[in-house]
C-alpha cells in the first residue's frame, strides 16, 4: 500500500503509523504536485524581481555568516555548495534511531513541501519520498543537539541526490523541525498502547490484592470533574466489570485508592503528546518560508522564521517521562503491598478486622519484587527534564533544540515502566494462583496470556529471569504494535 499526500491535512498520526511502522511508501498526489509547482514558479518570480533581497540561504550565506550576501551570478553555485553536496553529517555515538523513526522523519519532512511553502521544485519532494523505498541510513543518538534539526537531517538525507539542486531547493530539506514531529508521533503511538497495558495490569493488581472497588466508582467522574480522570476511572471499571465482591478488603493502601487520579494524569500526558504530534506533523516549519502572493504582496514573500525550533514536543516528552516514573513508583508500591504482612495477612481467628480478607497475599512471591527498586530509581532519573541546552554554538545559533535528549529519556522511563509492569503482572498472577482466585472476566484473557509466558511459580522456581525478560519484551513489542500486552494466549 502507498500513502498519497496532497496537503498538510494528510499528515495524520494514522498515516504516520502506516509509513513509519507499517512500512508503506509515500506518493506525492496530483494536488500537491500542482501546488508545489505553483509555489516554485511564484518563488522564482519573487527571486528574479530582486536577487539582492535577503532570502536566507538563497541570496545569503548560512548560519553565523548569514549577513554575507551571495552575488546573483553565484547563487546557483551556492545552492550546490559543498556543504550540501557532500556528507555534512557529523554526530556519532549513543546507538542509533530505530529505522521506523527514520522513516517517520522522512514522512514528516514532506509536510514542508506539499503546501508549496518550501520554495523547492516538486522533484525534490519526490526524491525525498523515494528514500522510503530504499535502505535508510543510521542516525546516531549522540551529537545531534544544535539550533534546529540540521544535524540529524544531514544523516537522514545522506543518500539523497543533491548535485543538481537549484536556488531554494536545499533549505527545505534540512531546515525546519521534522525530527521533533516524528519523535512526538512515534512516542504518541506507543504511549497510548503502553497506558492501556498499565491500566490492565494495575486492574489485575486490584483484583489480586482484593482492593475495595468504590475508589473507581462512577460517581467520582463528576465529583472530581476532570475528563482525563473520568477516562481512567472508566477504563478501570471496564476491566473490573463483574469483579467478585466476595472477600474484598474494606481498606487498601493509598497506592490503590489514588489509581484513578494518577492514571488520569497519565491520560493527560498521553493526550498532550498526541496533540504535539498532530500539530507538529502538519506544520510548515521551513526557514525561510515562502508565502503565496496576496493583495499586498504580488510576488509573495520569503522570510526567516524560527519554525525550526519545535517548542512543544520536548516538554510533552518530559511530562510523559515524569508520568511513567510516577506510575513505576506506584507499581512498586503495589508489589510492596502484596509483600507487607501487616496489611496483606488475613485477620487473626476471631478478629473482626474487616479491612483484611480471609486470604493472604504475603505468601505468594515470585522473588522478582526486589528488582523494582532499581527500576523506580532509573525511571526517576530519566524523568529529569531536558531544558533548552546551556551551550551556545555561535552568536547567531544561540539556542539549540533538546528534543533528542527528551526522546531518549522518555524511552528509558518507558522501558523502566515496562519492567515494573511485567513484575507486577507476574506477582499479581502469583497471588491469584496461590489464593485460588480468578480475576474479573475482562482480565482473564490477560492472565492467560501472561501465564503462557510466566506460569505460576510452584516448588523450585526455574528460568524466572528469562521468563520475566520475555514479559518485558512482550510489553515493549506490543507498545509498538498495539497488540494485547502479552500477545494472544498460546501464541508465545
Amino acid at each position: 500500500m502507498t500513502v498519497v499526500v496532497n496537503s498538510t491535512d494528510d499528515f495524520t498520526l494514522e498515516n504516520y503509523g502506516r509509513v513509519a511502522t507499517g512500512g508503506e511508501s509515500v506518493a506525492i498526489g496530483p494536488k500537491a504536485a500542482r501546488t508545489m509547482a505553483d509555489g516554485r514558479a511564484n518563488f522564482l518570480r519573487l527571486l528574479e524581481s530582486d536577487r539582492t533581497q535577503f532570502i536566507y540561504g538563497v541570496t545569503s550565506n548560512f548560519g553565523p555568516r548569514a549577513k554575507i550576501t551571495i552575488p546573483p551570478d553565484q547563487q546557483r553555485a551556492h545552492a550546490r555548495a559543498p556543504g550540501f553536496r557532500g556528507n555534512w553529517a557529523r554526530g556519532f555515538g549513543g546507538g542509533y534511531l530505530d529505522e521506523r523513526v527514520v522513516r517517520g522523519i522522512i514522512f514528516a519532512r514532506l509536510a514542508n513541501f506539499v503546501a508549496g511553502n518550501s520554495k523547492a521544485r516538486p522533484v525534490i519532494a519526490e526524491r525525498l519520498a523515494a528514500l522510503l523505498d530504499g535502505p535508510l541510513p543510521p542516525v546516531p543518538f549522540d551529537g545531534e543537539v544544535g539550533a534546529g534539526e540540521v544535524l540529524p537531517m544531514m544523516h537522514v538525507l545522506r543518500s539523497l541526490r543533491r548535485d543538481d539542486l537549484e536556488e531554494g531547493d536545499a533549505n527545505p530539506l534540512a531546515n525546519g523541525s521534522p525530527v521533533s514531529a516524528a519523535f512526538a508521533a512515534d512516542t504518541a503511538l506507543q504511549a497510548g498502547h503502553r497506558l492501556d497495558h498499565a491500566e490492565q495490569i494495575l486492574a489485575l493488581s486490584v483484583e489480586a490484592f482484593g482492593a475495595p472497588l468504590d475508589s473507581y466508582d462512577s460517581v467520582l467522574d463528576d465529583l472530581w470533574g476532570d475528563e482525563d480522570e473520568a477516562s481512567a476511572l472508566a477504563v478501570l471499571r471496564r476491566y473490573l466489570h463483574g469483579a467478585s465482591p466476595e472477600g474484598r478488603r474494606t481498606a487498601a493502601p493509598a497506592s490503590y485508592l489514588v489509581l484513578g487520579r494518577v492514571l488520569g494524569q497519565a491520560h493527560r500526558a498521553v493526550a498532550d503528546v498526541q496533540q504535539a504530534a498532530k500539530v507538529s506533523l502538519r506544520s510548515v516549519t521551513d526557514n525561510p518560508v515562502y508565502v503565496f502572493p496576496d493583495e499586498d504582496h504580488a510576488l509573495g514573500r520569503a522570510f526567516s522564521t524560527g519554525g525550526f525550533h519545535n517548542a512543544m514536543t520536548y516538554p510533552a516528552l518530559n511530562a510523559l517521562a515524569a508520568t511513567w516514573a510516577d506510575l513505576t513508583l506506584l507499581t512498586q508500591r503495589h508489589v510492596t503491598a502484596f509483600r507487607t504482612a501487616a496489611i496483606s495477612a488475613p485477620p487473626a481467628p476471631g478478629s473482626a478486622d474487616s479491612a483484611r480478607p480471609s486470604w493472604s497475599t504475603a505468601d505468594a512471591a515470585t522473588g522478582l519484587g526486589a528488582l523494582l527498586v532499581g527500576l523506580v530509581d532509573e525511571a526517576r532519573a530519566a524523568a529529569m527534564p531536558t531544558l533548552l541546552p546551556a551551550a551556545v554554538n555561535d552568536p547567531q545559533d544561540d539556542v539549540s533544540s533538546p528534543v533528542f535528549s527528551a526522546y531518549r529519556r522518555q524511552a528509558r522511563a518507558a522501558e523502566c515502566l515496562d519492567g515494573a509492569l511485567a513484575i507486577l503482572a507476574a506477582e499479581s498472577s502469583q497471588v491469584l494462583f496461590t489464593c485460588g482466585r480468578d480475576p474479573a472476566p475482562p482480565l482473564q484473557h490477560l492472565l492467560g496470556a501472561l501465564r503462557a509466558i510466566f506460569p505460576p511459580v510452584e516448588g523450585k522456581p526455574r528460568d524466572l529471569e528469562s521468563r520475566a525478560e520475555r514479559l518485558v519484551a512482550a510489553l515493549a513489542q506490543s507498545a509498538v504494535t498495539g497488540s494485547a500486552p502479552f500477545g494472544e494466549r498460546g501464541q508465545q
Partner: protein, 456 residues
C-alpha cells in the same frame, strides 16, 4: 464585598482572586445550606473508621518552620476558600454550621502554614495548620475527616500559581517585544502567515501578542539579515509558556470545584434514608503538581532565551549597537555586566525546574503514596522569581539600547518602556548609581505586577 457560594460552580478563579487577594469574605448561600443539610442527614449513622488517638494526632500538626518560611496569607485564604467546595456540595456530609465556621475563619487572622514538612498522603497535615483556629469540640468523626481530607491545598496552590502566571506571561511578552525593538530584529519571524503554517493555538496566541505590541513598528532601521535564533524562536518558546499557563489554569479550574473528600456520601437512588459511603483517593491531586512542574520548566526555558537576547543586545558585533550600550559621550560599562547577572538567574531557574515527582518515601503500609504539590509549588515560585530577574535585565538592556541609539519603540510599547524607566532610568553616565539596587527594584516590581496584573 462578600463572595456567596451556592454550588461547586461558584469556585472559580475569579472568586478565588476576590477572596485571596482582595480580602473578601465568603458566605454560604441558601442553596448550599439546603444541600448541606440534606447531605448531612444522608450520611450513614456509622462514621468512617479511625481510632480516637489517631484523630487527635491528625490535628496536632507541628507548627514549626523547618527551613523555608510560610505560605503567603493570601494563599492560606485560598485554601480555606477551596475547602468549602467539597462542603457545599453536600457530599462530604458536613453540617452547614460547621461549614459556616470554616467560612468565618476568612474574617480573622490567617494561621501560619510552614512550607516544609507538608508532604504526606493527602493534605491533612497542612490542613491541620490551616484549620488550627476552628472550633471542633462538637465535630463527629466523619466531619473531622471531611475537614482534614481531600485536596484543597493543591487547588489553592495551583490557582495562586495560575493567576500569577497569566500576568507574568503577559509582561514577558511585552518585554520580549521591547527587546525585538531594541535589537531591531526583522519582523518576519512574527508574521501573521505563521499562525496558519505552524497551526498551533498557543503559538498563534504568542504571535498575536507580539504583533499587538509591535503594531506600527517600522521596517526602516532593522537589520537586513535574520536575527539570532533567540529572537526568531521567541514566538514558539512563548507558545510553550502559553501552553504551560493554560494547563495550570485548567488544573486550577478543575481542582477548585472538585469534591475530593476521602469519603463521599451518595444518596440512595431509591430514596431510602441513608446512602452509601464511597471511599476514594480524592485526596491525591494528580494534576496540580505536573502542571506546576511544566510551568517551572517553561519559565526556565524562557529565562534562558531571554538571557541569550540580553547577550545579543550587549554584544556589539552581533547587534550592531554601541559597545556596552553606552550613551553617546558617556563612559563606563553600560549594561554589559547585567548579562553575567542573568546567567546566575538562568542557572537557578534550571535548578528549580527539576520536577517534583511522587515522593519516594512511604509513611506506612497504608500511607504509601504522598503528594508532592508543596514541593512543586515552591519550585515554580523560585523559577518565576528567577524569570523576573532575567526579564528585569532584558527590560533594562532593551531600554538602554533604545536610549543609546535615540530611538523609540512601537507605540504600543511606550507604556511598558515608561514603566521600566520609572523604576530603572537609562544609564546616562551623569551620576553614580547603585545599579544592583536599581535592578532589584525592577525585579520586585515585576513580581508585584505578576499578582496585580499591572505594570506600574
Amino acid at each position: 464585598m462578600t463572595v456567596v457560594v451556592n454550588t461547586r460552580d461558584d469556585f472559580t478563579l475569579g472568586n478565588f482572586r476576590r477572596v485571596c487577594y482582595e480580602g473578601e469574605s465568603a458566605r454560604l448561600g441558601e442553596k448550599a445550606l439546603r444541600v448541606m443539610t440534606l447531605g448531612a442527614t444522608q450520611k450513614p449513622a456509622t462514621a468512617a473508621p479511625g481510632p480516637q488517638a489517631a484523630r487527635q494526632a491528625r490535628w496536632a500538626a507541628p507548627g514549626v518552620r523547618l527551613a523555608d518560611g510560610y505560605l503567603d496569607a493570601a494563599v492560606v485564604r485560598g485554601i480555606l476558600f477551596a475547602r468549602l467546595a467539597s462542603l457545599v456540595s453536600g457530599y462530604a456530609g458536613v453540617r452547614p454550621a460547621v461549614a459556616e465556621r470554616v467560612a468565618a475563619l476568612l474574617d480573622g487572622p490567617m494561621p501560619r502554614v510552614p512550607l516544609d514538612g507538608q508532604a504526606g498522603t493527602g493534605e491533612s497535615r497542612p490542613m491541620a495548620h490551616v484549620l488550627a483556629g476552628l472550633r471542633r469540640d462538637d465535630l463527629d468523626e466523619g466531619e473531622e475527616n471531611a475537614l482534614l481530607g481531600g485536596a484543597p491545598c493543591s487547588a489553592a496552590l495551583v490557582a495562586d500559581a495560575a493567576i500569577h502566571a497569566r500576568h507574568r506571561l503577559g509582561h514577558a511578552e511585552a518585554i520580549c517585544a521591547l527587546a525585538i525593538e531594541g535589537f531591531r530584529a526583522p519582523l518576519g519571524a512574527y508574521d501573521e502567515a505563521l499562525d496558519g503554517l505552524w497551526g498551533d493555538a498557543h503559538e498563534t496566541a504568542a504571535l498575536r501578542a507580539l504583533r499587538r505590541h509591535l503594531d506600527g513598528a517600522g521596517d526602516g532601521e532593522r537589520r537586513f539579515h535574520q536575527a539570532p535564533v533567540s529572537y526568531r524562536i521567541i514566538p514558539r518558546v512563548l507558545g510553550q509558556v502559553h501552553r504551560g499557563v493554560a494547563a495550570v489554569e485548567k488544573a486550577a479550574a478543575v481542582s477548585l470545584r472538585s469534591v475530593t473528600s476521602d469519603v463521599v456520601y451518595i444518596s440512595d437512588e431509591m430514596g431510602r434514608p441513608g446512602g452509601r459511603a464511597v471511599r476514594s483517593g480524592g485526596y491525591h491531586n494528580g494534576m496540580a503538581y505536573p502542571a506546576l512542574n511544566a510551568l517551572s520548566a517553561a519559565w526556565a526555558d524562557l529565562a534562558l532565551v531571554a538571557e541569550r537576547q540580553v547577550t545579543a543586545l550587549n554584544t556589539a558585533e552581533t547587534s550592531g549597537l554601541p559597545v556596552n550600550l553606552t550613551a553617546p559621550g558617556a563612559s563606563g560599562h553600560g549594561t554589559y555586566a547585567y548579562g553575567w547577572v542573568a546567567n546566575s538567574y538562568v542557572e537557578e531557574a534550571r535548578a528549580a525546574a527539576t520536577p517534583a515527582l511522587l515522593p519516594s518515601v512511604a509513611e506506612d503500609p497504608y500511607a504509601d503514596v504522598s503528594s508532592p504539590t508543596f514541593s512543586a509549588y515552591r519550585r515554580e515560585r523560585r523559577a518565576a522569581e528567577c524569570l523576573d530577574g532575567v526579564m528585569a535585565i532584558l527590560a533594562i538592556v532593551s531600554s538602554q539600547a533604545l536610549f543609546a541609539t535615540g530611538r523609540n519603540p512601537a507605540h504600543p510599547l511606550w507604556p511598558v518602556l515608561s514603566f521600566v524607566r520609572s523604576v530603572f532610568p537609562p544609564i546616562d553616565g551623569t551620576r553614580e548609581r547603585d545599579l544592583s539596587a536599581d535592578g532589584a527594584h525592577l525585579q520586585r516590581a515585576l513580581g508585584a505586577a505578576a499578582r496585580s496584573g499591572e505594570l506600574r
